[in-house]
């Protein structure tokens, strides 16, 4: 232990901590604005237009300033410590997971060889923080929201892990950097990039399962039951205000980005350019990586403004009687494919 501590350079730690944080913060500001714009356009509106001049680009910044000024309300009967702690824990969970995401060929927070495992383990803490917030608020809506989300996240973790496992099976590595490096080049059918999703038909099924499960894991519509506004006020966030609420929002968006980036790494070649060596290199790699992740995020937003919400029983039905069996069958079939070819 002391050996490890001695080898750590504090400045390096700061830099490695700051890079994902900057990305998350900038992304959150843009994504919240973008989501409102997308919602507006889909509903034939314009969305925010006033703050900052061009299409209200500074709207999220203005909202952030407003949230900072708000009173930090803590209900009298709430469990104070847990109540205060929950939002930070939630953000910490999704932030910590960014350590193993390879942002470009030159940068990854931590080169651990169990990256995928670490990521899935750390994001499970999200469930805990949601229950924590729901329970500590001492409010029935919060509690119901927290319970729902716990059930949902625990259930949907299974198909997520099974579909990720399918990829790991094909790639033969738990390190996301290695998984990405495997996908370099354009060999499939002579022009398609070597992305895993093109490599074998079962991985397409795995991606569909993965995408549905990450929608549920990050509480996006049509699986936004934990915070269903129309039934549960705000779910586990009901009692939160000001910056603590903003932390939840930030964590949610960070989680969305994290899972989208994970999807981009596992199925769409991570930082690999779709044109082989053309537009390659670390910086372009970062660009391609973020582009792929953000496209998935945009699809998630697009779905959000299209579909209504599922009922709790439907949600559980989809997970336990369709996604989980399908993902396991898929896993076995992929294994067979790997053995045969």
């Amino acid at each position: 232990m002391s050996q490890i501590l001695l080898n750590i350079n504090p400045i390096a730690i700061l830099v490695h901590a700051a890079i994902p944080l900057t990305i998350i913060l900038v992304y959150a500001l843009v994504a919240i604005w973008g989501e409102r714009k997308i919602a507006g356009f889909i509903q034939d509106r314009l969305g925010p237009m006033r703050v900052g001049g061009w299409h209200g680009w500074a709207q999220s910044i203005a909202d952030l300033l407003k949230l900072i000024q708000k009173e930090d309300i803590i209900p009298t009967d709430a469990s104070r410590f847990l109540f205060k702690f929950a939002p930070f824990m939630m953000f910490a969970a999704s932030y910590a997971a960014f350590a193993v995401i390879p942002f470009s060929s030159a940068y990854i927070g931590s080169m651990v060889n169990i990256g995928v495992f670490y990521l899935l383990a750390v994001t499970s803490v999200l469930t805990l923080s949601v229950i924590m917030a729901g329970w500590a608020s001492n409010n029935k809506w919060s509690l119901l929201g927290g319970m729902r989300s716990a059930a949902q996240m625990v259930s949907y973790e299974v198909p997520t892990i099974a579909s990720v496992l399918t990829v790991v099976l094909v790639a033969g590595s738990l390190n996301l950097m290695t998984v990405t490096e495997l996908q370099a080049g354009n060999d499939i059918l002579g022009f398609l990039p070597n992305w895993l999703i093109f490599q074998n038909p079962f991985l397409i099924v795995a991606f569909i399962i993965f995408f549905i499960s990450i929608l549920a894991e990050s509480h996006r519509v049509p699986f936004d039951l934990p915070e269903s506004e129309s039934e549960l006020v705000g779910g586990y966030q009901t009692e939160y205000s000001g910056m603590r609420w903003a932390m939840f929002m930030l964590a949610e968006y960070a989680d969305m980005l994290l899972l989208s980036l994970l999807g981009a790494t596992l199925f769409f070649g991570g930082w690999n350019s779709p044109f082989g060596d053309f537009m390659g290199g670390p910086l372009w790699g970062f660009f391609w990586f973020m582009l792929k992740g953000l496209l998935l995020v945009i699809v998630m937003m697009w779905i959000r403004w299209t579909l209504p919400r599922y009922r709790v029983d439907q949600l559980m039905h989809i997970c336990w009687s369709i996604l989980i069996p399908l993902s396991f069958i898929n896993l076995v079939l992929t294994a067979l494919w790997e053995v045969i070819f």
């Binding site: 889909i42 034939d44 509106r45 314009l46 697009w302 403004w305 009687s321």
Partner: protein, 203 residues
């Protein structure tokens, strides 16, 4: 099993249909009007703020009487003989000073009933709807353009004239009464003379 496949197929089909609809709207034109910057033209006959073209008003009080909520307050003073208030643009002669013409827009319910009776079409609605105020008293619109001194002056003048008229009338009445009395007296005299004559003839 087969059912589940069928269901899933249906689900995916409806999801993609829905997403197709939303993406079409995404690229479609938005219907938003950037309100304070651009405004919609009010349709013809829209009810909005009242306006009185006070130069054309003849003070007939018809609008005030038509108003169901009594929010029009009119006070008129008859013009004296020495002034000519002119004519309205519709050719009606003006005979009254409008010393007060207030419309309380806070009370007004935009029924449009005051607009139609006006003989000179001088009270009407203008396409103006942004006139909220912090104090309700500011919603009382004053349309009379007379200065307070002017109001006082015309009132005094009108009173004087009215008194003069009254006196004149009394004078006239008195004269008439005198004349009548004279006539009666003469008639009596005549009658008396005639009766005398008759008496004589009879004798």
């Amino acid at each position: 099993m087969l059912n589940a496949v069928k269901q899933s197929w249906l689900t995916f089909r409806s999801i993609f249909t829905g997403m197709g609809v939303t993406i079409r709207h995404f690229f479609g034109k938005s219907v938003t009007l950037q309100y304070p910057d651009e405004k919609m033209e009010l349709p013809k006959g829209a009810r909005s703020r009242l306006f009185v073209n006070i130069d054309d008003c003849i003070g007939c009080n018809l609008c005030a009487r038509a108003c169901p909520v009594n929010c029009i307050d009119i006070e008129t003073v008859a013009a004296t003989q020495d002034v000519d208030l002119g004519k309205t643009s519709t050719g009606n002669p003006k005979r009254f000073w409008l010393t007060l013409f207030d419309i309380d827009m806070a009370k007004c319910m935009y029924c449009d009933l005051c607009v139609h009776p006006c003989p000179t079409n001088c009270i009407y609605m203008v396409p103006e709807y942004e006139y909220s105020e912090y104090d309700r008293i500011n919603l009382v619109y004053h349309f009379s353009n007379l200065e307070p001194e002017m109001v006082a002056e015309v009132k005094v003048k009108a009173e004087l004239e009215a008194e003069q008229k009254k006196r004149d009338r009394e004078e006239m009445m008195r004269k008439k009464a005198e004349e009548k009395a004279k006539k009666e007296l003469e008639e009596k005299k005549k009658a008396a003379e005639e009766s005398k004559k008759e008496d004589k003839e009879e004798e």
